[in-house]
Subunit: 266 residues, 2 copies
């Protein structure tokens, strides 16, 4: 038997979670082997050779050892490659609609990550407004093109698989920035969508507590497993596991808690 | 009979030329009606209403009046919508490969446009190096995934339709910045690809003289039909047509030539 495709990934990475959601929805959670990469350690040289030096994840390795990169490319590849009905809409126009919404994910992800990583208290409002503007744009898009609700079309689909992992990551904004969508018609349709996406059973791979604890270092401006000055252990470490650690302090602008306070030393 | 889909476009826009190339390759140049937008004049309010305020082009209007935006979304839509064999690769893995290459078009276009619009002589080297780095990356990609040559696969395909209009726009770098790909193995495969793309008969919608003359204002830092200080007519004007005008001065850092010198006044 041919071996399964392998996805090299970080367990909490939103760009990997998309693939897990797809597999779950397609009822094929076992069709792909997931191999966990610890981003707090140097990358395996064998994998680096295969990816020709790229460290960006996820990376898919096909049954015969060929490499596919880019989260959205892998997502669409798996959707086509797996047997059975695709998650993408069959109709070309409807697929164009979901693709137009998906085209918004890059700026949306960037705005959320820049906001959580921002270290300048005076620039909070600016980051918040940027993200709110993107939510308003999504709201308008759904009003123009979407079904009555909650999803873009009648069911959770490709666009939902793309955005839900970001909505769940943005728990870090909720916790570290007190970010909420305002109660206003400008956000009502986007909010309905977001809540339905996050509540869908195929998207339960991560939980709020995990995201808040693991992304603490992002809230201090240190991405991708980088070590925060004054600390020795990354909040992304697998050991000790997040379940055993206390909740981090909410005030990201007050400077880092110690490794000990964060439960990072055993 | 149902009316044809309409593409609202600017004749020299690279993001519209992709669609023309697709139609030409599919042998269906008549399947879509192209309507020309003059970006030097205020946008038609009727069209603005349809696009809900977006001025970005191209925009496709389906037979029943629905709107699709985003050059790559429209391109893939037309490829699926038109009868007959698609330009995209059928095989999911091969399609993933062409999609990985297409994912590079955004940064590539941005680097070329920022370079031509740069007004600071001291930053030329930086812009040049940025673009060369992207060409080296494309070179590596084609060596890793591409056929012997000249194209990514055996024929001119979807990735070629995406990149060729940019290669042709970059005539403006050739002219205004003296930009050339170095004679080196680091660029050899990319160069072969680029030259084959540009020579393909399905890509002859624009010529070098047209690009160089129309994009003169970009070389002076003024994009999207904006008027350069000290001038009254945009180099993008349809009247007088570019064919009747002299070649613009090559030295973009010396300040603008006059409307008269550029043949923009009749």
């Amino acid at each position: 038997m041919k071996r399964k495709p392998i996805v090299h990934h970080i367990p909490v990475c939103p760009f990997c979670q998309r693939l897990e959601i797809l597999l779950s929805l397609r009822g094929m959670a076992d069709a792909v082997e997931f191999r966990v990469i610890d981003i707090t350690r140097p990358r395996d040289p064998g994998l680096l050779l295969k990816t020709r030096g790229t460290t960006a994840l996820p990376v898919l390795e096909t049954s015969d050892g060929r490499i596919i990169k880019e989260s959205l490319v892998i997502l669409r590849y798996l959707d086509e490659f797996l047997p059975g009905a695709t998650l993408r809409r069959d109709d070309p126009y409807e697929h164009a609609i979901e693709s137009m919404l998906i085209a918004r994910e890059g700026p949306f992800a960037e705005a959320g990550y820049l906001f959580v990583m921002n270290q300048d208290r005076d620039r909070r409002a600016e980051h918040q407004e940027k993200l709110l503007g993107l939510y308003r744009d999504i709201n308008d898009f759904l009003l123009e093109h979407g079904h009555q609700g909650p999803y873009l079309f009648e069911d959770f689909g490709l666009a939902e698989a793309v955005f839900t992992p970001l909505f769940k990551r943005f728990w870090f904004l909720d916790y570290y920035e007190g970010f909420r969508l305002p109660e206003s018609q400008d956000y009502a349709r986007a909010k309905t969508w977001k809540e339905a996406c996050m509540a869908h059973p195929a998207t339960a791979q991560v939980c709020r507590e995990e995201i808040v604890k693991l992304y603490y270092d992002y809230a201090l401006g240190a991405g991708n497993g980088a070590i925060v000055p004054g600390r020795q252990v990354s909040s992304f470490t697998f050991d000790p596991p997040w379940q055993t650690r206390p909740w981090p302090p909410k005030d990201k602008y007050a400077g880092t808690a110690t490794d000990r306070e964060l439960g990072l030393t055993s």
